[in-house]
């Protein structure tokens, strides 16, 4: 039985199993070695709890990571895994995805790994729409190398390498991905198991590249970077969770909402605006997705979570296989004929 039966495009071609799986089945025998309190733990647990629900054969799941604290992730998953080199996981995973339609390939990467050294592979993977699920653990710091600022750190950040404050304007990873033609972009908080699970599920079900930014706390080198989103009260005012097709409201009882402002978006009190002025999320509208990404400011005044964008377009790996299949169907693989080519001559001994 293969997942194609389930009609889930993102899982097409990946063998499924009827065996009951639990989170435990996805725990490897390797001791988890993150710092106490690291956000990576929760993401790992969420992933281990979530995967059984896909019903895939475990051996057909692969985690490929780069280098960084978060990139140790594959060791802890009882699946196949490769802990590769810094920034190159998307490229390696592309090779794997192209050659193997029967695998569910996940990339685990950090803000340094994906956006600093690996930025180019990331944007090319997204534009190609390779069938990979890319989890970007954004702790806004280089954890593994002990605390230098990263491409998502706020301007002026004081770190070991920037004692006078960092100078770089940070990336907005969602804006960058959208500018790079990403067909799926989502965001979730490490601590929000339900929200993260929902985004992971949609990513898994999406055919093509799915980038999921996960805000992850690094208690050692950037503690509390996302605390304002974890404080229950603040979270109500700041977290804008979007659902495709639904009006964008947030707050405890939806007391806030998102409305248009110029070519962009603004936040308003639901009470102050006409219900019809509330923007309805449409994950297929790139301009809206982009505007939502800008609503998510670096200082976390507001943070959009959920799925910003989902668009259907052919994936690179499916198309590459289709070309090979078409070539095979059209022309026999006759090596001798190939070697002879058109122009030969024969010497008689």
């Amino acid at each position: 039985m293969t997942a194609i039966d389930l009609g889930i495009p993102g899982l097409t071609g990946i063998p499924t199993t009827d065996e009951k799986q639990t989170a435990r089945d996805y725990k490897s025998d390797q001791e988890v070695r993150w710092c106490p309190g690291c956000g990576d733990y929760i993401v790992l647990n969420t992933m281990q709890s979530f995967l059984p629900s896909l019903g895939l054969k475990r051996e057909n799941i692969v985690f490929v990571s780069g280098i960084g604290c978060s990139s140790r992730f594959p060791y802890y998953m009882n699946t196949y895994g490769m802990h590769s080199i810094h920034g190159r996981a998307p490229a390696i995973a592309t090779g794997l995805a192209v050659s193997r339609p029967d695998l569910s390939v996940w990339v685990v990467t950090g803000d340094g790994d994906a956006l600093s050294i690996g930025g180019n592979h990331l944007i090319h993977t997204l534009r190609r729409n390779v069938n990979l699920k890319i989890l970007l653990f954004n702790n806004r710091i280089y954890g593994l190398t002990k605390g230098q600022y990263s491409p998502t750190s706020e301007e002026g950040k004081i770190t070991k390498s920037t004692p006078a404050g960092s100078l770089d304007h940070p990336f907005n990873p969602v804006s960058l991905a959208l500018g790079a033609e990403a067909s799926f972009v989502g965001r979730a908080l490490d601590s929000d198991k339900a929200g993260l699970t929902s985004v992971l599920r949609q990513a898994a079900e999406h055919r093509g590249s799915a980038l999921v930014e996960i805000y992850q706390n690094c208690p050692i080198f950037n503690d509390g970077a996302f605390d304002v989103l974890k404080d229950a009260d603040e979270a109500q005012r700041r977290i804008i969770n979007v659902v495709d097709g639904e009006p964008i409201r947030f707050g405890r009882e939806g007391e806030y909402c998102v409305i248009r402002e110029g070519f962009g978006l603004a936040v308003a009190k639901s009470a102050d605006v006409d219900a019809s002025d509330i923007v309805i999320h449409d994950a297929s509208d790139l301009n809206l997705s982009f505007a939502l990404s800008r609503l998510s400011t670096q200082d976390l005044s507001h943070t959009v979570t959920g799925v910003f964008r989902r668009a259907n377009r052919p994936t690179y790996d499916d198309s590459a296989r289709a070309q090979v299949d078409a070539a095979k169907a059209a022309k026999e693989a006759d090596l001798s004929k190939l070697l002879h080519g058109k122009d030969t001559w024969t010497v008689v001994g």
Binding site: M77, V98, H121, R321, A327
Partner: protein, 612 residues
């Protein structure tokens, strides 16, 4: 006709003209005629680094040299016997190579004042005495071509563009070449533009007839077919042979191939060729850069395909970190380096052998990789198959060091019987009971190839040091030392054939050792000095790492070891270090292959020195 026909055993012709003059095509066609006729042959194209350098300038000159003979030859020839110069720039750039008495055929139409000044001729060399020492034939090729095509109604400019076929016709006549192939070729090539096809055929015939009917040429020449080994031959370039070797590796291993690559001169043609053969289960991915290219190849290998990446020197520099990952993860990977002139961007369209030490050592840590180098264009096929064998059998990245001369040069190739090709089938690990990610085959020291999707073999690999057998991360000091030595031992233990020494007389005291594309010139030089009565032995290395087991013994047998290289002595360094043999370098780094003549002199001097 009053023309005399002389028999020759070999001829070297060089066609030279502007990049836009179609010299590569002309040369290719003459080559095909020679091949069809049964000569042995070797060719060497030479084109400018610019796509289209300004017309009529020296940097814009493009040339094609071919050597054909009635015996087996080894090189495209040191210097032309016949130079065809389509314009003053082509003359100026190439005439230095023409020996005294050589035949010079010049297209006079281009020798205008303006064109002459452009390349710095103060006076017209066709009119002063500067070409006196050659047999000069002045032919108004453009005019004659236009004349011949008058009837066709083709514009003057279009008509004039067929003048290269005029030249080809003339030379075909001079050398008694068969002509049907070319006419057929032209009709096929321009199938969609029948008028152009006809024009080219007409120009070709006009050239032939010009030779036949004018009395300008007193002599024609015949080069009899060569007595080659029996079999079916074709002409092949090194890059094509490399691509075919990879196709063959796919077939013989029954594995899909994934080529992850990024275009770069002179390696791009391997991508171009392979992209045509998807029917052999070959996927080509043009990646965003060299690092992604090799990453994709390695990812594919991890998935159970034969991952291949192709590039030239600067690309190898970029790939080195990932080659290290392949060394650590012990996955099969074929890394093709078509060497070009360096350092840095260097001379992108020229040849060189200066990446050997980069291939050996260009990675952090102790990171050994096998190295295989082809010795001629057609040899790329067998050599790359052997590289694939090593990669698959030993689970290791393998460096394949081709070069610009081999890649673009061509020669006849005795097409092998497909069933005689080595069997490259490998077994994937499947047994969860016995599986350990870093256990080793006692023979090869290879670890198991356990591809994702195999039930029960879930495991994790990566770039951190691995514990022996289990493959878990290990920071244990003894384990690291052990693994470093195991990885080295695996490479050192690769089975490669003994090196065969060519010393017909058995009396040589001097051994010349070469590797890669210098095989032709060294071999030809060895033949020449032997003809002078000076015995010399020639050993040519296909395997640069590990070296053949008998190499030390071979080296120590001779009074003197000389190592000609197109670098500053890279193989010599390795031989000296490993065998403590006083191997002496002869080096030339001009972006050009050695000439048999110069090596002849070098060898003769050394041999005489030793006997003295």
């Amino acid at each position: 006709m009053s023309t005399e026909t002389r028999k020759l055993d070999r001829v070297v012709i060089r066609f030279a003209g502007d990049s836009g003059d179609g010299m590569q095509l002309t040369g290719d066609r003459f080559t095909s005629e020679a091949a069809a006729f049964g000569n042995d042959l070797a060719t060497q194209p030479n084109f400018p680094a610019e796509i289209r350098a300004p017309q009529g300038t020296l940097p814009g000159v493009s040339s094609f040299q071919l050597h054909f003979a009635d015996y087996d030859i080894l090189t495209p020839g040191d210097r032309p016997d016949v130079l065809v110069a389509m314009n003053p720039a082509a003359l100026k750039a190439n005439v230095v190579d023409l020996p005294d008495g050589g035949i010079l055929i010049v297209n006079t139409d281009e020798f205008t004042k303006r064109n002459l000044t452009k390349v710095g001729y103060d006076s017209n060399p066709l009119e002063d005495e500067s070409l006196e020492r050659f047999q000069v034939h002045k032919v108004a090729m453009a005019t004659l071509t236009i004349g011949a095509l008058e009837e066709t109604g083709l514009g003057k400019k279009d008509a004039e563009r067929a003048k290269n076929m005029f030249a080809l016709g003339l030379l075909s006549w001079m050398y008694h070449r068969p002509t049907e192939g070319t006419e057929r070729f032209l009709r096929e090539k321009f199938a969609k533009k029948p008028d152009i096809a006809e024009a080219n055929v007409l120009a070709f015939r006009a050239g032939w007839n010009y030779g036949e009917t004018t009395e300008a040429f007193a002599v024609t020449y015949e080069v009899a077919p060569a007595k080659l080994n029996a079999g079916t031959y074709r002409q092949i370039t090194g890059n094509t042979a490399t691509a075919y070797g990879i196709v063959a590796a796919a077939q013989r291993s029954k594995l899909p191939v994934v080529l992850g690559t990024y275009p770069i001169t002179p390696a791009s043609d391997i991508l171009h060729e392979l992209s045509k053969h998807k029917n052999f289960d070959i996927t080509t991915v043009q990646a965003e850069d060299e690092i992604a290219g090799i990453g994709i190849a390695l990812g594919a290998s991890y998935g159970g395909a034969l991952g291949v990446t192709s590039t030239s020197g600067p690309g190898i520099a970029l790939k080195s970190e990932t080659i290290g990952l392949a060394v650590m993860t012990e996955l099969p990977l074929l890394v093709i380096d078509v060497q070009r002139g360096g350092p840095s961007t260097g001379l992108p369209t020229k040849t060189e052998q200066a990446d050997l030490l980069q291939a050996m050592f260009g990675r952090n840590g102790e990171s050994p990789v096998p190295i295989v180098a082809p010795q001629s264009p057609s040899d790329c096929f067998a050599a790359v198959l052997d590289a694939a064998r090593i990669a698959l059998q030993y689970r290791t990245p393998v460096l394949f060091l081709s070069d610009g001369a081999v890649a673009n040069g061509s020669e006849p190739w005795l097409i092998p019987d497909v069933d005689s090709l080595p069997d490259l089938q490998v077994e994937f690990a499947t047994d969860p009971e016995t599986f350990q990610p870093y256990s080793r085959d006692p023979e090869t020291l290879a670890r198991p190839w356990a591809v994702p999707g195999t039930p029960g073999l879930q495991h994790r690999i990566g770039g951190l040091e691995k514990q022996d057998v289990t493959g878990n991360i290990s920071y244990d000091p003894e384990n690291h030392d052990r693994m470093v030595r195991l990885r080295q031992a695996k490479i050192d233990g690769i089975e490669v054939p003994d090196v065969v020494v060519d010393d017909p007389s058995g009396e040589a005291k001097v051994l010349v050792v070469g590797w890669g594309s210098s095989y032709g010139p060294i071999g030809a030089a060895a033949r020449r000095v032997r003809k002078l009565g000076l015995p010399v032995a020639h050993a040519h290395l296909r395997h640069l790492n590990p070296f053949p087991k008998n190499l030390g013994e071979v080296l120590r047998k001779y009074d003197k070891v000389i190592v000609p290289e197109m670098n500053l002595g890279q193989l010599a360094l390795l031989l000296r270090a490993k065998y403590l043999v006083d191997a002496v370098s002869y080096t030339k780094v001009q972006g050009l292959p050695f000439k048999a003549e110069e090596l002849q002199d070098v060898l003769a001097d050394v041999i005489k020195g030793v006997s003295a």
